[in-house]
Amino acid sequence: MLKIGQSNYDSLRQHGEETYPHECCGVLLGQMGGELRTVSSVVRCGNTRTDSPHNRYDIDPRELVRIQRQGRERGEDIVGFYHSHPDHPARWSPTDLAEAHWFGCSYVITSVEKGKAAVTNSFELTGSDEADKKLLDEEVEVI
């Protein structure tokens, strides 16, 4: 389950509206506690897939290193990621699964329809390795 504050939830949805018709992306920092991931901050990232930004996203690893370091200084870990699907359902795609490697983390997807954030869903990457990984629906509690 993913627990996230209202302002952080609104922020990631708004990010999708701001980058529309391109995909947005970012990192969720917080605490891991067994099956519960609690988000304490949301960090917006740039989408490096300038060749196809309407249906692809990619976060520069250098940006991830920086975010991970800054998070650790505040006692936060990377607990998940988010991105948007402009004019496309908030469901994971084969590309999302193929490119997902952070097991035990949340992958939040927001559909943005004609520039307005619509549905936001979250999926946990489960499995023990690349061969048996799955993105499973998970509950999102907005607090």
């Binding site: 995909e23 992306c25 990192v27 891991m32 897939r49 196809s52 249906n55 692809r56 996203y57 990619d58 976060i59 690893p61 250098r62 991830l64 290193v65 920086r66 991970q68 370091r69 650790r72 870990d77 990377i78 607990v79 990621f81 991105h83 699907h85 496309h88 359902p89 994971w92 795609s93 590309t95 999302d96 193929a98 490119e99 997902a100 490697h101 952070w102 097991f103 035990g104 983390c105 992958y107 990457l125 390795d129 690349e130």
Partner: protein
């Protein structure tokens, strides 16, 4: 010479006493990303003695063998989605595995983040 945080490894020729090989080995901190910590004793960082990035990664998987299959292919190559950073630099743009380490260097293992519909 006052060396702090590193040890000098050397090989002396038994008969002549001549120095045949010497290298500075540093204690390097490796940041473990959250999904891989379960294979690294649940630790966020692991310290290893190493002179190069390659030695550091070898030391890491020696300490925590369960990490190997998550970092390397069956052929022993680093998986394509695993990024290795030395401080803020991608080692692929340095001297790759042979990149030398110095005191206070930090290695970060960062699986890639990408996708789309």
């Amino acid at each position: 010479m006052n060396v702090v945080g590193r040890t000098r490894a050397s090989v002396l020729h038994a008969e002549s006493g001549r120095l045949l090989w010497a290298s500075f080995i540093t204690m390097t901190k490796i940041n473990i990303p959250t999904p891989l910590r379960q294979y690294a004793g649940k630790q966020p960082t692991v310290e290893v003695k190493a002179a190069t990035v390659s030695e550091a990664l070898s030391g890491l998987v020696s300490k925590h063998p369960d990490l190997r299959r998550h970092l390397y292919t069956d052929e022993g190559k680093l998986r394509s989605f695993v990024n290795v950073y030395l401080n803020d630099e991608d080692v692929r743009y340095l001297q790759k595995d042979a990149t030398a380490l110095k005191d206070s260097d930090t290695i970060s293992i960062v699986p890639s983040i990408a996708g789309g519909w």
